[in-house]
């Protein structure tokens, strides 16, 4: 009896991995297709960081730059300082829109349909994640290109490019799984659009927009210990072509922990009998 069970479960687990990959590819195509079919969502997600970039550079830039670069500092110095902050904020913005589209999906009948089909369960979620990560990369590259247009210049190094790529992928994966979790657990689409707002606000309380030393003591402590600061600093180093040091490992550690916990939570929330919650 026990041997039979073992061999059957092994046989099915082998094919179920192949099935999961295949279904995940189908679901990812669905997500990408949806993004293309509904570009307004991506435009909205691009709009916010773009507006913040312009605001920070042209409205606050001169004054902030003087604060950061000392007497000689100005708009150009602040542009250089703030770009990593805006980029991280852009990634957090994508997470918000992912939570909304997951929540919308969950409230529609199509999820019930998927759940009653012989479809690998996780594929519905991985589909969303793949779509969102691609959207993140697109938004990241676009905002970076716009920053370059505004005069943002750095020393590009091979290590820097690798560091930035790894960070963008790790961050968007972690943020996306977190937003998938929030999207599933949200009772309504409205909740799904409000809860992840914290992800957009947290970068402000980090080293992204002003150095943490300039903050009042309690806030400075928080800023130095919250995950967005090492992320921001590692990204800054990567973009500037300087060594990221321990910030990189701390940032990746945060991504790993948050991503894994969210993945497990999201999977559980998705599988759960909707009536027992």
């Amino acid at each position: 009896m026990s041997t039979t069970t073992a061999s059957t479960s092994r046989a099915t687990s082998g094919s179920s991995l192949a099935l999961a990959v295949r279904d995940s590819v189908t679901m990812s195509r669905r997500s990408i297709h949806r993004l293309i079919r509904y570009p307004a969502l991506t435009v909205t997600v691009l709009g916010m960081p773009l507006i913040f970039l312009l605001l920070f550079v042209f409205v606050f830039g001169e004054t902030m730059g003087a604060g950061i670069g000392g007497a000689g500092g100005g708009r150009a110095e602040y542009l250089h300082y703030v770009v990593p902050g805006v980029l991280v904020m852009a990634l957090a913005g994508v997470a918000t829109s992912t939570a909304i589209s997951v929540a919308m999906d969950m409230t529609e009948g199509i999820i019930a349909r998927f759940k009653t089909m012989p479809v690998a369960r996780v594929s519905v979620l991985t589909g969303h994640v793949v779509g969102a990560v691609l959207q993140s990369v697109f938004v990241f590259v676009t905002i970076l290109a716009l920053a370059v247009l505004l005069g943002y210049r750095t020393d590009v190094t091979a290590t820097g490019v690798v560091t930035v790529t790894v960070l963008v992928l790790a961050t968007s994966l972690a943020l996306t799984w977190l937003s998938v979790l929030l999207g599933i657990r949200a009772k309504t689409v409205e909740t799904a659009s409000n809860t992840p707002m914290i992800l957009v606000l947290l970068p402000f309380l980090s080293s992204g927009f002003v150095p943490t030393e300039s903050l009042p003591i309690g806030l400075a402590w928080f800023a130095e210990h919250q995950p967005f600061t090492p992320l921001m600093e590692a990204l800054r180093s990567g973009l500037n072509g300087t060594a990221a040091g321990s910030d990189l490992w701390v940032a990746l550690g945060w991504c790993l922990v948050a991503g894994l916990a969210s993945y497990v939570g999201a999977k559980r929330a998705y599988d759960r009998d909707p009536t027992t919650s």
Partner: protein
């Protein structure tokens, strides 16, 4: 492997928190038959479909679909069923064709076979012209047809249809009925829920009446109608005074509906009874005369003490 029973439900209980929804359901659907679950809103119809289609777990009792237990072998069950829920389960951003292709990919149909099946279903469901428009532009009837077509891509052996025609205009209803009949002709078992008695009457081989989480009666439409003895003879009268007079002359068997100005008596089917009734009403102002054979509405009323429409009308009005 063929099973004589496509669906076998024994002692099914399900509660949402403290609120019991299904309270001991026993029901079977023979392979190749159409079984209708008839009941008002809130009776537990959708919950039953959700349990049988592996969406939610039963609290107790067993549900077997084509021989497989829904709790222990949900994957085996999912391979053989198709489910069309009450609300449209399609991707509104996709076209009809893209929705069908998504389904074909998810059930791993080989490319050529998938394309052939899609063409066949678009044709059969009269969606060829709309195939390349986004589903968000479809009418209610078209959405429902696409929904059912998506369910059928995988050639399921048992299909669940949760209120397949709710909210549809009469013509679309008839189209959906025809499509269901075609499936049955192909040997598919259909388990459908409905709050419409005529739907159950037209489509189903067997009807189970669900009320308050219990099956209160089951059988063929004819068997259920037999539960309500005989029909009624009904006369509509010209005035309140005539109603009183008619009620008096027809005796204690007469049922009076003062608002509708009608009086009715049980009818045994004999012509003599009609003659004698009209003779007794000679002198009263009878405007119309009708013979009612019992329909499922009467059965429902007799079984549950309320009609099927009582519970759902307020919600219908909101739509």
């Amino acid at each position: 492997m063929t099973h004589s029973l496509a669906l076998e439900i024994t002692g099914l209980h399900k509660a949402y928190g403290d609120h019991p929804v299904l309270r001991g359901i026993d029901l079977t659907a023979p392979t190749g038959s159409v079984v209708a679950l008839l009941g008002p809103n809130g009776a537990g119809k959708t919950t039953m479909v959700n349990v049988a289609s592996t969406l939610i777990r039963p609290d107790s009792g067993t549900v077997r679909v084509l021989g497989h237990d829904v709790v222990r072998e949900p994957e085996r069950v999912r391979e053989q069923i198709g489910m069309t829920g009450q609300y449209s389960a399609l991707d509104a951003l996709f076209t009809g064709r893209e929705n069908l292709r998504l389904m074909a990919d998810l059930v791993h149909l080989p490319k050529a076979e998938g394309r052939a099946r899609m063409g066949e279903l678009l044709e059969r469901f009269d969606l060829v012209d709309a195939a390349d428009r986004p589903a968000s532009t479809y009418s209610g009837g078209m959405k429902r047809r696409l929904d059912v077509a998506m369910t059928l891509i995988a050639r399921p052996r048992l299909i669940f249809l949760d209120e397949p025609t709710t909210g549809l205009d009469p013509r679309s209803r008839r189209t959906v009925w025809d499509l269901i009949r075609e499936q049955v002709a192909d040997g598919v078992t259909v388990f459908l829920t409905t709050q419409y008695l005529d739907e159950a009457d037209t489509l189903a081989d067997a009807i189970a009446v669900l009320d308050g989480g219990r099956i209160v009666a089951s059988g063929t439409a004819t068997e259920l109608k037999r539960l309500v003895p005989g029909g009624r003879l009904e006369v509509r009268l010209g005035s309140d005074g005539d109603v009183t007079a008619a009620a008096a002359s027809l005796g204690p068997d007469a049922t009076v509906d003062a608002d509708a100005l009608t009086v009715s008596v049980p009818y045994d089917g004999e012509v003599a009874q009609v003659r004698s009734l009209l003779a007794r009403l000679d002198g009263t102002d009878v405007t119309t005369f009708a013979v009612h054979t019992p329909d499922l509405d009467d059965v429902f009323l007799a079984l549950t003490g309320h009609t099927t429409t009582e519970n759902h009308e307020p919600q219908e009005a909101l739509r």
